[in-house]
Amino acid sequence: MPVSLSHDGERHWNRRTSRTEWLRFAGWLALAMLFIFTWRVMTQDTIWAFVLDAPRQAADIGSRMWPPRWSYMSALWKPLWDTINMATLGTLLAVILAVPVAFLTARNTTPSVVFIRPVALLVIVSSRSINALIWALLLVTILGPGVLAGVIAIALRSVGFIAKLLYEAIEEINIEPVEAIRATGASAPQVLAWGIWPQITPAFAGISVFRWDINIREATVLGLVGAGGIGVNLESSMNTLAWPQVTLILIVILATVIVSEWVSAKIRHALL
């Protein structure tokens, strides 16, 4: 009890009782000890000679990477275009799959909390728990290398992300307009289209554009495992130790990401 009476009858107030003060102190102490312990585990296999050598090694690679090989750009336009298409088509596919999943998951729209909602949640969790790079590895072995594997990898990864954020938006809608639409005698699909959908369109558009922006970044690395796009060039350049080409590719990726972030920020701003 934060309020206590001292023997002279004065009422004292403290934010916490002394018991909770001690518990909090013990908690912080345990956290600090855990940090020291994990630091020791982390560093025990480190070869310190290599770490001390790091600045020289970095300077060496740096000198070999500079200047970028600008003439290589002519070979990059096509894979860059593939990368952007991969992200866009993957996002589109994911949106189409995610909207029904979101409605099946949201507590206020799912047909069955007991049977259908857990299945839809499982879809979301499995999609979110596997990185696009791993999806791509699997799909390249199934579908063969190329952009198609990349598109599907991105779609599978994004379904969970979009469905999760969208179902949270659906659960937060105002129920009154939905009741009002239902009270007019509207059918269930009409209630969805007139009462619920208009309330979530800003969230829906914002989430989709945000995921497209993330997917541009993911698509740039999918080529490392053979799923097409600019990552393929990155991998082959690194394998042949063509460091100036690697530099150019990194610059191109950076520029693309900046542009996509700018575009997505503009679109989201316009929609909200």
């Binding site: 009154e176 307009p177 009002a180 009270a183 005698g185 009409q190 289209a193």
Partner: protein, 274 residues
């Protein structure tokens, strides 16, 4: 005409919201439903159009027992009952016209409504009610760009465009200032008279209820404890509904205001300005 027969609603939590209520409302009559918070006013009117499923009893609208209808038939029956809400319950991101046309959803197929290709007759109806509630100048505005009074007018227009036999009105003025509250109540009552609609109006404000409705039903703990004309609301009756309190000022205030209204009331002009 609405007949409610021995209606009981018990929620799954065990709360008895409506306790064996029988009530009949003839066409053209506006009933004010008063009672303390939690007395079951909202549950009662939501049982009528089955936004809340009644536990026992029958609800007959023009002889049709609503409590026994299948989902499809319920949708058809709901078209005959307009509902007006405390927080207006408009779809904010849709325009005034779209909100009003949503009152016709029960009459139009999914794709026609989705593509906003309503029959011309429905659009004509929407224009008629929008003119009646004085919102012709705001048709293309988004619902969230309007003031509270205007938003409630859209709510009224949406209910009217259904061409209902019955209005279910849930605290229509609880979110409005006193002047707008009166204008909205006056509008509802006038429209019911014009169109011969039966109406049940849940209302907190006893004085406002006395001013506008022809009959008052008092609800306490889900059961009817008063049913009579507004003048019949004596301090004893109010104590029966709400519990002991000094009621003298509530009643006299209502009567003074009534006289006040009669002197200065220019309904047409005040309505348009709100």
């Amino acid at each position: 005409m609405l007949v409610i027969d021995n209606l009981t609603k018990r929620y799954s939590t065990g709360d008895l919201a409506v306790d064996n209520v029988s009530l009949s409302v003839p066409a053209g009559q506006v009933v004010g439903l008063i009672g303390p918070s939690g007395a079951g006013k909202s549950s009662l009117i939501r049982c009528v159009n089955r936004l809340v499923e009644p536990s026992e009893g029958a609800i007959k609208l023009n002889g049709l027992d609503l409590s026994k209808l299948s989902r499809g038939a319920l949708g058809k029956a709901r078209r005959r009952m307009g509902m007006i809400f405390q927080e207006y319950a408009l779809v904010d991101r849709l325009t005034v016209m779209e909100n009003v046309l949503s009152g016709r959803l029960g009459y139009v197929g999914f794709w026609r409504s989705y593509l906003r290709r309503f029959p011309q007759a429905d659009i004509d109806r929407a224009f008629v009610v929008l003119e009646r509630v004085g919102l012709l100048d705001h048709i293309d505005k988004r619902a969230d760009a309007l003031s509270g009074g205007q938003r409630q007018r859209v709510g009224i227009a949406r209910a009217l465009v259904q061409e209902p036999d019955l209005l279910l009105v849930d605290e229509p003025t609880a979110s409005l200032d006193p002047k707008t509250s009166r204008q909205i109540m006056r509008l509802i009552v006038e429209i019911c008279a014009e169109r011969g609609l039966a109406a049940i109006v849940n209302i907190h404000d006893v004085a406002l209820a006395q001013m506008f409705v022809q009959r008052i039903v008092g609800l306490r703990k889900g059961a009817i404890v008063f049913d009579g004309p507004p003048d019949g609301l004596t301090p004893e009756a109010l104590t029966e509904i709400y519990g002991a309190e000094d009621w003298a000022s509530t009643i006299s205030k209502a009567q003074e205001e009534d006289a006040d209204e009669a002197e200065t009331g220019l309904p047409g002009k005040t309505l348009a300005s709100a």
